[in-house]
């Protein structure tokens, strides 16, 4: 097979139904359901899968191994990333090297968040120099946002605007858990109760349940299938060390994803202006500013102006988080990372459930330090 025909493409991408809770479901059952949907979308069968990266629930240690065995696969390639943008790049590399031909990326969660007196289990860091001071996810992310807003004199309403845009995308999306809950104005965001200053409740991600899956295969195999293959143009990922361990200052957060973004654009051979859709991980509202700055769309401190006045709304030049993201569509603990990939694929195929960006040809997906550029 030639190098060109071994090029990896995304050929299937699906979410299960997402809901605040899915009674009777488990992390394994929703991950399996997503697997079936994505393989069905691709027109492939489980027997075609010879590689996977899977994370049912929060089984970081052995998710891929255990899920692959549970599926009845004899032996299989496994990726090491959490299913999401980096896992797409990792799978594409494995396919292009001939380590495997068809890779399943799958994840999902149901039934894990039962102690509602505490924040969700995936947001309670256990590190010795973190936990004792009551740091949890919103506080960790608020620290860098607060520092940035102080340094560049950013008013809270500039950040609240971002949350209103994303939540309005979700409000229009019939597949979003919070469909129909909008529209929101920046004032509505600011009027919600404070969680970790400067983040109000509506600046933060939600929690819900559901599964997501993506299937990649070779360009040659994809030619025999009915579906539009989405090319993996470039990508990368930056670690900043262990999360929830070291002080999350703005100076550290600002550089997170810069090298990965530069590598992604360099490999893709496209410019920033070629991107039509921006599927950024919206766990907290200011992160959207951080991504535009880290990817080189504007300089440090310019983000709040860059995103303002409709620029990031559908119909604007830089539409973000078009399914409503973790604030409105769904946030399951980890598989929301894959939801960003699924939504980018749907935009590029012209099949978004809502908020379709006309003639979308290139999408960038970022999740914290991970970046992937996808195109048709």
């Amino acid at each position: 097979m030639s190098r060109a025909s071994r090029r990896a493409v995304i050929i299937g991408a699906s979410n299960t139904r997402q809901a605040r809770t899915l009674p009777g479901e488990t992390s394994g059952s929703v991950t399996l359901a997503a697997t079936r949907l994505a393989l069905g979308d691709a027109g492939l069968d489980l027997a075609d899968v010879d590689g996977l990266t899977a994370l049912p629930g929060l089984d970081y240690a052995s998710g891929s191994d255990a899920f692959g065995y549970a599926l009845g696969l004899p032996t299989f390639w496994t990726g090491r990333a959490v299913p999401g943008p980096a896992a797409v790049v990792e799978a594409a590399q494995a396919i292009e090297w001939g380590l495997c031909d068809t890779v399943l990326l799958a994840g999902g969660q149901a039934g894990l968040y039962t102690d509602r007196g505490s924040v969700a289990p995936w947001t309670r860091p256990s590190h010795e120099f973190i936990e004792c001071w009551g740091l949890m996810t919103p506080a960790e992310w608020a620290l860098s946002a607060r520092e940035y807003m102080h340094r560049y004199s950013v008013k809270p309403e500039r950040i609240a605007y971002i949350a209103s845009v994303i939540r309005n995308n979700g409000s229009r999306n019939p597949e979003a858990v919070y469909h129909g809950r909008g529209p929101f104005t920046p004032d509505d965001i600011l009027a919600s109760r404070m969680i970790a200053d400067p983040y109000h409740l509506l600046d933060c991600c939600t929690t819900s349940e559901g599964g997501s899956a993506v299937v990649l295969t070779t360009a040659e195999r994809a030619r025999d299938l009915d579906r539009t293959g989405v090319e993996v143009l470039g990508g990368g990922w930056d670690s900043w060390g262990p999360s929830y361990t070291h002080p999350p200052t703005y100076d550290r957060a600002a550089t997170w994803g810069r090298k990965a973004g530069a590598a992604a654009f360099a490999r893709a051979g496209i410019s920033r202006d070629d991107v039509d859709v921006f599927e950024f991980y919206d766990n907290f509202s200011w992160e959207i500013v951080r991504y535009f700055e880290a990817l080189g769309y504007c300089e440090a401190g310019e983000g709040p102006d860059f995103v303002a006045e409709g620029a990031i709304e559908v119909g604007g030049r830089y539409p973000v988080v078009t399914d409503g993201g973790t604030m409105s569509h769904s946030h399951t603990g980890e598989s929301q990372r894959l939801q960003r990939v699924v939504q980018a694929v749907r935009q590029l195929r012209g099949e978004s459930a809502a908020n379709q960006v006309p003639d979308a040809r290139v999408a960038v997906v970022t999740v914290v330090g991970e970046v992937v550029l996808l195109g048709v």
Partner: protein, 127 residues
Amino acid sequence: MPRPSALTRPFWDACRVGRLTVQRCTRCQGYVFVPQEFCRHCRSTTLTWVETAGTGRIVTYTVVWRPQTPAFTAPYVVAVVELDEGYQMISNIVGSDAAGAAVGDRVRVRFVRVSEAVTLPCFELAA
């Protein structure tokens, strides 16, 4: 609550007697926190524990209104403090005026005894 390891026990033992300590490299004089086996600046393994002045400034902070678990009483202030020695740590700002904390404020360590075994180094706004 912290469960000290062999590496971190000296830090918590010092807190119990009211001393804030940090690892310092005898080769490059750099400070290392959180504790690790070798110097982050020069990779030397010659780290020793030294006492710090316990004073610094707030790099950034957040007032938390949704506690991590019911063990915490909201609101409380989580901050990144840069000690005058030049290293950073996460801690709480405590004291009756903690809600008035701001980026850049001077702070000094205040030890909060939470159990027989654990004393937490927190910070209060310096007058």
